[in-house]
Amino acid sequence: MRDVDAETKLDARHVNFWYGDFQALHDASLAVQARKITALIGPSGCGKTTFLRIFNRMHDLVPGTKASGEVLLDGHNVLSPDTDVINLRRQVGMLFQRANPFPKSIYDNVAYGPHILGWSKQQTSQIVEESLKDTGLWDEVKDRLRRSALNLSGGQQQRLCLARALAVKPEVILMDEPASALDPIATLRIEELMQELKKRYTIVIVTHNMQQASRVSDFTAFMLMNPTRAGEVIEFGPTDDIFNRPKDGRTEDYITGRFG
């Protein structure tokens, strides 16, 4: 049951990844559909986060890492040395496991991306308002935009970080267990937002929480460590298939809670 207008936004092909001598990913492939939510699930240490961070070259920040294979964003290989990493990260935004607002005001947090891009004040304040509205924060914070972002609750901080990522108009948003530090209500809020956002953005989410994956995602990739501890994509397909009709026995074992 593939969409007729299916369009591949991010296409990872045969990606291998090393931290020094340790191979963390082995031959991982994944075709992320545009304006859909793709979930990466699997036990701890199976390389989900590593895989996710390759998509916007965040692994560049760790010395001694090496990636091979291809990750095509709209047909262009982001792993090639001539990729403009700064521009790439603008197109592929990221939401982290723990909310990490800058120790600045609420306004300055969201305005930081536009500020980097040199957008005008007027344009910036418009984008800040839009982004905060898109994340449902506007009504909660519009009277205290100049106050420190650190005074917000955990859930609000995470939505602020999402607004901050949206402000540079990305095409893809990578989410690394965005709700793992949040209470159930704040988690639900993030999940509702994701459904809203997928109309305009392509989302890839790493999650430990299988219920969350089955609730929010359109496609799911199940990952597992192979005998040499390198992560592999075991099975990838529509979420409904992965959870109800897994083809691989290992997927079924994990889904039904027999290990992991």
Binding site: L88, R89, N100, P101, F102, V168
Partner: protein
């Protein structure tokens, strides 16, 4: 003896030892403060102490205005030289210095921290005084700047390393170049620690005597030109303590009290500032 009893006894014993050690460390400091206060107050309360230059030996009265101006100016110019350079080196060490270059800089800085302060005076003397053929406040500022440098750069590095990596990642993930993330996010987040380090270095420099002996040299007239020899509070203390005139000795005590107050005030200021910024 039963075990709980032994435990209670050991607990008492160790607790007592800790209190003893703290007292041994704290009592001299308190005694010093009291001593300086009692001996220094009469000097500070002498009319003209803050406003007059010293009078010739044997003439009663006079003040330390020359030394107050000198200390402020010498340390001020020294800080203007040392703080920007030290902060930049600290930023380099924390953000780009995880390599051999960084380790070399750290090693040199540690060696500098351990040098006796008179060595910095010799440095100022050979590099500035000998080449300009002139004692000057500037040569003292340069000597003090080199002395302050390791304190500032280490404090800056420590403050920056404490900034969580997640903030750097958040900035980079927005497409910000590394240098902008460093200057616009990491440094502001660590400003409290950087400012504290700078103020502590200034406080230390203000109390130094040895680096000034053959750089600023001392001057009994009020001098504001940094290219001329200049007095300083620490020099007043050093010189006046050695002369047989009671009014000058009293002046030395007064200068000591003033210096202690200045250093204490700087430290307290630094703490208040950090507490405010951390809220």
């Amino acid at each position: 003896m039963s075990r709980p009893l032994v435990r209670a006894l050991v607990d008492r014993l160790v607790g007592g030892l800790v209190v003893l050690c703290v007292s041994v460390a704290a009592i001299p400091v308190l005694v010093l403060f009291l001593f300086v206060l009692i001996n220094g107050l009469p000097g500070v309360l002498t009319p003209g102490f803050f406003t007059d230059p010293p009078y010739p030996q044997g003439v009663p009265g006079g003040g330390v205005a020359n030394a107050i101006i000198g200390t402020l100016e010498i340390v001020g110019i020294g800080s203007l030289l040392a703080v920007p350079v030290g902060a930049l080196i600290g930023i380099f060490l924390s953000e780009y210095g995880r390599n051999q270059v960084g380790n070399t800089v750290r090693f040199i800085s540690d060696v500098f921290t351990g040098l006796p302060s008179i060595a910095f005076g010799i440095f100022g003397y050979t590099v500035v005084v000998l080449t300009t053929h002139h004692f000057s406040a500037l040569s003292a500022s340069i000597a003090l700047a080199v002395l302050m440098l390791p304190v500032i750069l280490r404090a800056t590095e420590t403050a920056l390393v404490l900034v969580p990596n997640s903030l750097r990642e958040a900035g980079l993930a927005l497409g910000a170049p590394r240098w902008r993330v460093t200057l616009e996010i990491v440094v502001p987040a660590a400003l409290g620690g950087i400012v504290t380090g700078a103020l502590l270095a200034m406080a230390r420099a203000a109390g130094e005597t040895a680096p000034l002996l053959f750089t600023a040299f001392g001057n009994d007239i009020i001098q504001t030109n940094p290219l001329q020899p200049m007095g300083a509070l620490s020099l007043t203390i050093f010189r006046n303590a050695l002369v047989p005139y009671p009014n000058l000795q009293q002046q030395a005590w007064g200068a000591a009290l003033l210096l202690v107050a200045l250093v204490a005030a700087t430290n307290i200021l630094a703490r208040i500032y950090v507490r405010r910024i951390q809220r």
